[in-house]
Amino acid sequence: MDNLVQLAESDLEDLIEGDWSLPVVLISPEGVVYDTSANDPLLPLVGQVIRETIVENPDTGGQIVVHKPVVSIRRSSLERVPEPLERWCVKIPDSPLSGAPMESYTISRPTEDGSTLGFIQLYLQALEQEV
């Protein structure tokens, strides 16, 4: 390694793509499906999937609990990195159980990058079938 930044990036293999990772599938606006890692096409694309909840307090004074799924992906594992305002589809397992079905989301706001540009965070918005 030339420097600590590069070392930090390589550490993402453990931090983001290690044992705590879950499979992630991306579909680009061009309709290209990305489900393997750009670093090693034989490996699936994986990332950290964090599902938390936040509490909104609208003007009515009532509280609303909202699920907030966030996916972190190592940038070097992406063949194409989502740009702001692009419409992507992101699929993540709907639960941590083995073999859980993948659930489709779209990106709700511009992605945020890690401090060293080593990873990106995708903020997801749930998708439902249009009628």
Binding site: P58, T60, Q63, I64, V66, R87, T106, S108, Q125, L127
Partner: protein, 208 residues
Amino acid sequence: MNFILVRDALIALLVADGLESGYRVLGHKGPAQSALGLTGENNLVQVCLAGAKFPRDKSSGTSVLYHDLKFAINITVAAKASADVAVLDNPESTPLQLQTALLGVKSAESRIDLALDALYAKICTVLYNALNIDLDLEEELMSRWLNDYEKGVPTYHGALCTLDGTLQFTCGIDETFTGDLGQPLIGFDIELRTGEDEYDPNIAITTN
């Protein structure tokens, strides 16, 4: 008191309409809600008496009192983004089909605005329906009006977008207070007693 009848009638009217039109009604400010439980048929309407007053210039304190009522109707909706998920989930879909499906994504922010407007329209329709003008009350409902609709700001920090609005329903109704006014006071027996007037204008008053 009659304002309780008005409150209950207003809630009952909205509950009945909610069952038909597809929204949920709480007759009070509810506890924390899940955004997932606020979508579609579960759009939430909360009704409560927000304020009231007895205007001083309407009547005196001992006659029938005019009661000015102000109800808050809070409406809350949540929405997901929409797309042709069937195409996105189908592994057989071609890149062109996927691209088309992604072009058709409607964001939750745009859908939720329409959802709240639709709910607002339902509330206006039922409250201004001529059949509901008196809320089925025997007492006459006066100056009823739906005013001051205010839309909130969408929140979009999670998987679902939420948005709320507040309407103000105002009306007036007469209130009659019962009670024992008490026994009348024992009257004072007032007798006017005047003494003899010693003044005689025929007698000159002399002074030394």
